[in-house]
C-alpha cells in the first residue's frame, strides 16, 4: 500500500500541507470557496515544534492492526479496500475513544460538512481517496515543497534510507574523506540526505 511518508528532518514548518489538507477536505475542494464554507474545513495533520527547533509533521499511520478501529464502539472505523483506516462520519458518535487508543495522538474532533447535523466528529487522515481515484498525489504531499512529505511504498523508502545511510557511512571513512573534505559542508550534508 502506498502511503504518505514523513521525513521530519526536511520539514520547515511552513504549514502549506495543513492548508492543502483543509481545502481537500472541504465541500468545494478549492481554496477561495472553501474558506467561505459554513462548516469550517479542518486540516487532518498537525505540525508540532519538535526537538532541536525542528518541525515535526504528525498524521495517521493507518496502523495494522489499528488500535482506534479496535476500540471504536460505534463501528465507525474500518479498513478500506485501499488499505487505509477510515472513519465514517455518519456512524461516528464523537465519543473520543479513538483518541484514547491512538498512540500517535492524530485525531481531532470538529464538525464536518458531510455530517452537518453533528456538532463534532472524529477527523484524521484518509489519504485523499478522491485524489487517489483521479491518479493524483495526496494534497499534503502535493503541497510540500521540501520533500518532507512523499508518497510511496514505505518499504522502498526504508530501503532508500538504508542506502543513504550506507553511503553516508562510506563517505565518512578516512579514505574518501580526503576527497570529500574539499567540498563545502552544506553540499556534503545535502548529499548525505538525498
Amino acid at each position: 500500500m502506498k502511503t504518505v511518508i514523513i521525513q521530519p528532518e526536511r520539514c520547515l514548518g511552513c504549514l502549506q500541507c495543513r492548508l492543502a489538507c483543509a481545502v481537500e477536505h472541504s465541500r468545494a475542494k478549492e481554496l477561495v470557496a472553501a474558506i467561505q464554507e459554513q462548516v469550517v474545513p479542518r486540516a487532518r495533520l498537525r505540525i508540532y515544534p519538535g526537538r532541536q527547533h525542528l518541525a515535526f509533521p504528525n498524521k495517521c499511520r493507518h496502523c495494522e492492526p489499528a488500535p482506534c478501529q479496535q476500540v471504536c464502539i460505534a463501528g465507525a472505523i474500518c479498513r478500506t479496500p485501499r488499505g487505509t483506516v477510515d472513519i465514517d462520519p455518519e456512524r461516528c458518535i464523537n465519543c473520543a475513544m479513538c483518541a484514547m487508543a491512538c498512540p500517535f495522538g492524530v485525531l481531532t474532533y470538529a464538525s464536518l460538512y458531510l455530517a452537518p447535523e453533528k456538532a463534532a466528529v472524529a477527523l484524521k487522515c484518509d489519504q485523499c481517496p478522491d485524489r487517489e481515484a483521479a491518479g493524483r498525489l495526496p494534497a499534503c504531499v502535493e503541497a510540500c515543497k521540501v520533500g518532507a512529505l512523499t508518497y510511496g511504498e514505505w518499504q522502498e523508502t526504508q530501503e532508500d534510507k538504508g542506502r543513504a545511510l550506507a553511503r553516508a557511512f562510506f563517505t565518512s571513512l578516512p579514505a574518501s574523506q580526503e576527497t570529500a573534505s574539499s567540498l563545502p559542508a552544506t553540499i556534503r550534508v545535502w548529499r548525505q540526505l538525498s
Binding site: 521530519p8 508540532y48 515544534p49 519538535g50 526537538r51 532541536q52 525542528l54 518541525a55 515535526f56 504528525n58 492492526p65 488500535p67 479496535q70 476500540v71 464502539i73 460505534a74 463501528g75 455518519e90 456512524r91 458518535i93 464523537n94 465519543c95 473520543a96 475513544m97 483518541a99 484514547m100 487508543a101 491512538c102 498512540p103 500517535f104 495522538g105 485525531l107 481531532t108 474532533y109 456538532a119 463534532a120
Partner: protein
C-alpha cells in the same frame, strides 16, 4: 478443530476473527443468548438519546457470519459447561462438543438491592431488550431517577435530559464518577451536568423505590428525602456472567480466573471480556475492568492462543472516555495510587476549560485525567502501558509545554 465461543460481543467477535486467521479451516461456532446480530452495547445510551438510529447499532454487515465462515447460534442460552465431556449444554437440551472453548459471556447489571426493585418502571440498560423496555416505558417529559453516577449513569442521565425528561442523578459517593476521577475533575463534570439541567445528588444512598399500584412513584434516599420519579434506571455497575460455570469451578465471585494466556484451569477453556477477572497492568493486583477496549484486546489474545499462538496479556489498564455534548473527559490508570513516591502534577486552564492531571509513581506515569483537550490521551496511555521511565524520555510529559512532537521530533 471445533471451536466454541460463548458470547458474540466485543471479546467473542474479536477472538473469532483472529482465530479465523490462525485456523482458516476450523469450525467456529458463536453462541449468544441474545437473538440479535452483534450490536454495540455502549451505543445503547446513544440510542436512548436518539443520537443514533437502531440501524446504526449493528457492528457487522448482514452477511457477516457467512463471510467469515462462522456458525452463529443466536438466542441460545448456555446452562452448563462440562469440561470432562468437552461439551457445552444449552437450555434447549442440546449439547455442543468442542475442542477449544472460549467463555466471553460478558456481564449483567447489578441492582442496588433495595425494596421495590420489582416495580414496573425500574430499569437497567445493558442489552437491546433493556433499551426497548426503557424506551417504551419512559414517561414523556416525566421524571427519571438514575442510580449510580458511573460512565453509564452519567451518559444515560444526559441522554434522558436530551429526551426531555427531568433527571435526578443519585450517587452514594461524594462525587460523580467515583474511582475514575478525583474531586477537581469531578467538579468540572458536575458543573456541566447541572448546567444541562440534571439534578445531581451526591452522598445519597438509595434506600428504596416507592411505588403505587405496582408502578414506581419515587426513589427514597437513606437520609429520608424522596425524589419523585416515574422511572428508575439502575446503573451501579456490572457483575460477571459466570453462574453457569459453578459446576466446573472455573469462576470465583470476582469473575472467571484466567492466566496471562487467557487460559482457565482447564487448558482447553479460555476466557475473555467482562466475565473475566483480570490483573491490573500497573499494580499486578486482581482487578475487574469491564471496558470495551479491554474486552477486544483480551479476545484477540484468547482467539490467537486458541489457534496456536503463544500470546500474553500484560494486564488490564483501566481507561474511560466520557464525551457529552462536547464536554470531554478521558481518564485512566490509577487515580490515587497507594504506596510511596507518588507525584501528582495537575493544571487547570480556566480560560479554555482544560484540565490535566498526571500521576507519577517511582518515575513512571500511572494515572491520567484529561478534560477538554483530550487529543493526546493515547500518547499518555502508551507511556503508561509500556511503563516507560519518565527520565529516559526525550521530553518530560510533566512540563506544561509538553506535546508529542517533543517525543519523536
Amino acid at each position: 478443530m471445533l471451536y466454541l465461543i460463548i458470547g458474540a460481543s466485543a471479546a467473542g467477535l474479536a477472538a473469532a476473527e483472529i482465530l479465523r486467521q490462525w485456523d482458516p479451516r476450523g469450525a467456529i461456532t458463536l453462541i449468544s443468548e441474545e437473538p440479535h446480530p452483534p450490536y454495540s452495547r455502549p451505543l445503547l445510551t446513544y440510542l436512548l438519546s436518539r443520537e443514533v438510529r437502531l440501524d446504526q447499532v449493528w457492528l457487522k454487515g448482514p452477511d457477516y457470519f457467512q463471510e467469515w465462515g462462522f456458525e452463529a447460534r443466536l438466542g441460545e442460552r448456555v446452562v452448563q459447561v462440562a469440561p470432562g465431556e468437552r461439551e457445552v449444554r444449552l437450555q434447549s437440551g442440546e449439547a455442543l462438543p468442542y475442542d477449544r472453548l472460549l467463555i466471553a459471556s460478558g456481564a449483567s447489571p447489578r441492582l442496588p438491592g433495595i425494596p421495590g426493585e420489582d416495580l414496573a418502571g425500574v430499569f437497567t440498560l445493558r442489552t437491546l431488550a433493556d433499551w426497548r423496555r426503557l424506551d417504551a416505558g419512559l414517561p414523556e417529559g416525566g421524571q427519571v431517577a438514575v442510580v449510580g453516577a458511573g460512565p453509564v449513569g452519567v451518559k444515560a442521565a444526559e441522554a434522558l435530559v436530551h429526551r426531555g425528561c427531568r433527571v435526578a442523578l443519585v450517587e452514594m459517593e461524594p462525587q460523580v464518577l467515583p474511582r475514575l476521577l478525583e474531586s477537581q475533575a469531578a467538579a468540572l463534570l458536575d458543573d456541566a451536568l447541572k448546567k444541562w439541567g440534571i439534578d445531581v445528588y451526591c452522598n445519597a444512598a438509595p434506600a428504596g423505590i416507592v411505588g403505587r399500584q405496582g408502578r414506581v412513584r419515587a426513589l427514597a434516599l437513606a437520609d429520608g428525602r424522596e425524589l419523585p420519579a416515574q422511572a428508575v434506571l439502575c446503573a451501579i455497575g456490572v457483575t460477571p456472567n459466570t453462574a453457569f460455570l459453578a459446576a466446573p469451578h472455573l469462576a470465583v465471585a470476582g469473575g472467571l480466573q484466567v492466566n496471562a494466556r487467557m487460559q482457565t484451569a482447564h487448558p482447553d477453556i479460555y476466557g475473555a471480556g467482562d466475565c473475566v477477572q483480570g490483573v491490573h497492568l500497573l499494580t499486578g493486583q486482581p482487578a475487574y475492568v469491564p471496558i470495551w477496549p479491554g474486552a477486544v484486546a483480551q479476545g484477540r489474545i484468547a482467539g490467537a492462543n486458541m489457534g496456536g499462538a503463544q500470546r500474553r496479556y500484560p494486564g488490564a489498564l483501566p481507561q474511560n472516555s466520557i464525551s457529552l455534548r462536547g464536554f470531554r473527559v478521558i481518564t485512566g490508570g490509577l487515580v490515587e495510587p497507594e504506596g510511596a513516591d507518588v507525584e501528582i502534577v495537575s493544571e487547570h486552564d480556566r480560560q479554555r476549560g482544560g484540565y490535566r492531571r498526571l500521576v507519577y509513581q517511582q518515575g513512571r506515569l500511572v494515572g491520567l485525567t484529561l478534560v477538554g483537550q483530550v487529543e493526546d490521551a493515547g500518547i499518555y496511555f502508551q507511556l503508561m502501558g509500556q511503563q516507560l521511565p519518565v527520565k529516559d524520555l526525550s521530553a518530560d510529559p510533566r512540563t506544561p509545554d509538553f506535546h508529542p512532537g517533543r517525543l519523536w521530533g
